[in-house]
């Protein structure tokens, strides 16, 4: 799948001028509220007609204002999962799910009813009315309804925003299964770093109606100039690692990537299993020599790649670890004392990592770091 968007649209005093292309399985449109994320997905879905621009999926032009093309929303085959479930209150869950299939010829139906019901775990709800479902159940039915319309592309506009943490934890695994098991590419709108790092393959970072960065998640997340947009309190890097082995005696699991090895409390994952590890900048300590007689196990060797803006007491330092990136938040005093500058070899000591758990239990309460378990090392 390839999605190309190049649009310009004015909404009152707000100017949306966005241009990006993506081929990712799950592309996150990420940015603060008011950055223009929802307007952008509304343009892709055909709910909003841009003043100027072009939208194309796999080369099929949906909007092109220069040639007057505007495919109406019901002919776009784009599934849309809104913040609120928007189920039809007068129809049962089953008839909600089947709503889109009557507008398709049988050979266009690519999703089987039984598979979707199974994927989303909504088999017990089929004869119920939407008014009697919980928030999480409603959102699962809404996802199923969009899937059963056999869309070419699935848009999700903060589908978890209206849910509490327990309900978020209930839905996230289904979205992951969807991403990994269905062939439908997803565009996912979110302002939560945790959701984006957990789910996305590609990220499109929006700010004040403009695209400021596009690329794979680890790259975009490690860029110092973008930190304020991602919320500086949450600054952190994402490492894509694999389980290298377990030490049953000490109850530790070793994770490995090009950046090096991390030892974390024993994980219930098979060796070779991929997982994303998010390391917050404030949990990283830098040193010039390998420390001795220190309790921390996790020591990664690298070089200073970049030092962020030096204002206030602290600054963020980007450290390159054999091609991968880590962020460390240290004081300016330390930067001067250690004489940190680009190219200088350093050791990064990691205090805590957040590990994405793919097999979350249902109904388990979760913090705003939805989808990540904090692990102190």
């Amino acid at each position: 799948m390839s999605l190309e968007v190049d649009v310009r649209h004015r909404l009152g005093g707000f100017l949306l001028e966005a241009r990006f292309a993506t081929q990712g399985r799950l592309t996150a449109l990420f940015g603060h509220s008011g950055a223009g994320k929802t307007s952008l997905v509304n343009i892709i879905a055909g709910l909003l007609r841009p003043e100027r621009g072009r939208v194309a999926i796999d080369g099929r032009v949906l909007v092109d204002t220069s040639s007057g093309v505007f495919v109406p929303k019901h002919r776009r085959h784009i599934g849309y999962i809104f913040q609120e479930p928007r189920l039809f209150p007068h129809l049962s869950v089953r008839r909600n799910l089947l709503y889109g299939s009557r507008f398709m010829r049988p050979r266009e139906r690519r999703e089987s009813f039984a598979d979707v019901v199974e994927l989303l775990g909504i088999g017990a709800l089929l004869e119920r009315r939407p008014g009697l479902l919980s928030g999480g159940e409603k959102q699962r039915v809404a996802i199923g309804r969009a899937l059963l319309a056999s869309p070419r592309l699935l848009l999700m506009d903060e589908p978890l925003a209206a849910l509490d943490d327990a309900r978020k934890a209930e839905i996230l695994p289904y979205i992951e299964r969807l991403r990994d098991q269905s062939r439908i590419p997803i565009v996912y709108v979110s302002h939560s770093v945790a959701e984006v790092t957990r789910l996305a393959s590609t990220i499109v970072l929006l700010d004040h109606g403009a695209v400021v960065a596009t690329g794979p998640v680890p790259q975009v997340m490690a860029r110092l100039d973008l930190l304020p947009l991602a919320g500086s309190g949450e600054a952190g890097a994402v490492l894509e690692m694999r389980v290298a082995g377990h030490d049953e005696g000490y109850r530790l699991t070793t994770l490995r990537s090009a950046a090096g090895e991390l030892r974390v409390p024993l994980l219930d994952l098979a060796p070779g299993a991929p997982l994303r590890v998010r390391i917050l900048a404030r949990d990283v300590v830098l040193g010039l020599d390998p420390p001795e007689r220190l309790s921390a196990l996790n020591l990664l060797a690298g070089r200073v790649a970049e030092i962020g803006v030096l204002a206030g007491a602290t600054a963020d330092v980007r450290v390159e670890l054999n091609g991968e990136m880590l962020l460390a938040r240290v004081t300016r005093l330390s930067i001067d004392r250690l004489d940190l500058k680009p190219g200088r070899p350093v050791y990064a000591i990691v205090k805590t990592v957040a590990i994405e758990r793919r097999n979350l239990g249902q109904g388990q309460p979760m913090s705003e770091g939805a989808g990540f378990d904090e692990i102190s090392l």
């Binding site: 849309y80 809104f82 928007r86 039809f88 209150p89 007068h90 008014g131 969009a146």
Partner: protein
């Protein structure tokens, strides 16, 4: 038993009751589609003259009914600007016919019907219609499968209100189509006629009880059906 004469209807009275029900039923059945379209236009339309349409629809509510009846007579009389072409083209006549009584009832009840439907149209969550669109439903399908079911409570309420209002229509009817027994003499007109002749009290009382019974039944039905449909539409 002493109250038995109350149920001892004369054939003229039965004719008036039947005529009333028929006139009201026709008035509602024929004006309902127009009422739904008008309510949609007023609730959602963005067109020139929307306010004018709004005022016109509501005029019968505030004008003296006799005035409405006279206007209908002017327009739909055999020589009226609408009545004559209609007669020449189709042979259809409103003036001094039961069809005219139905027209007068429909016009008088129209504002009530449109108001009830319009309220329910304005209460529809348009985001549901957007969702239906993204699922592949074109505008007509969205209307038939989402909008229409959701405004059904308003349509039912509007229809029953209009039916009850039609049963009570007097002024416009007597002005437009006169008081012809068996043709245009509906229940209220029959009661009025009874009160104008000596010894008509018993007949007037019998018909009054019938009017009360029919109106009460209509309101109860509207309440019952309205609640059931509202539950359904509310997703329960």
């Amino acid at each position: 038993m002493s109250w038995l004469p109350l149920l001892d209807f004369t054939s003229a009275e039965l004719v008036a009751i039947r005529l009333s029900l028929e006139v009201a039923a026709w008035a509602v059945a024929t004006s309902l589609p127009v009422g739904v379209l008008t309510a949609l236009a007023l609730a959602r339309g963005r067109f020139w003259g929307r306010e004018l349409l709004d005022v016109t629809v509501h005029l019968p509510l505030v004008l003296p009914p006799v005035v409405t009846g006279f206007v209908l007579l002017l327009l739909f009389g055999r020589n009226g600007p609408l009545g004559r072409p209609l007669l020449e083209a189709t042979g259809f006549v409103f003036a001094f016919r039961w069809t005219g009584a139905a027209l007068a009832s429909a016009v008088m009840a129209f504002p009530l019907m449109v108001r009830a439907i319009r309220l329910s149209v304005e209460a529809v969550d348009r985001r549901l219609e957007e969702a239906a669109g993204t699922l592949g439903a074109g505008p007509l399908w969205v209307f038939l499968t989402v909008t229409l079911p959701l405004i059904l409570p308003g349509i039912i309420t509007g229809a029953i209100l209009a039916f009850a209002r039609s049963l009570g229509e007097f002024g416009a009817t007597i002005t437009f189509v006169s008081n012809i027994p068996g043709e245009t003499q509906t229940l209220p007109l029959a009661i009025y006629t009874f009160t104008q002749v000596p010894g008509g009290d018993a007949g007037a009382l019998r018909l009054t009880l019938v009017a009360v019974a029919i109106s009460t039944a209509a309101l109860l039905l509207s309440e019952f059906v309205g609640r059931r449909v509202a539950r359904r539409v509310g997703g329960l």
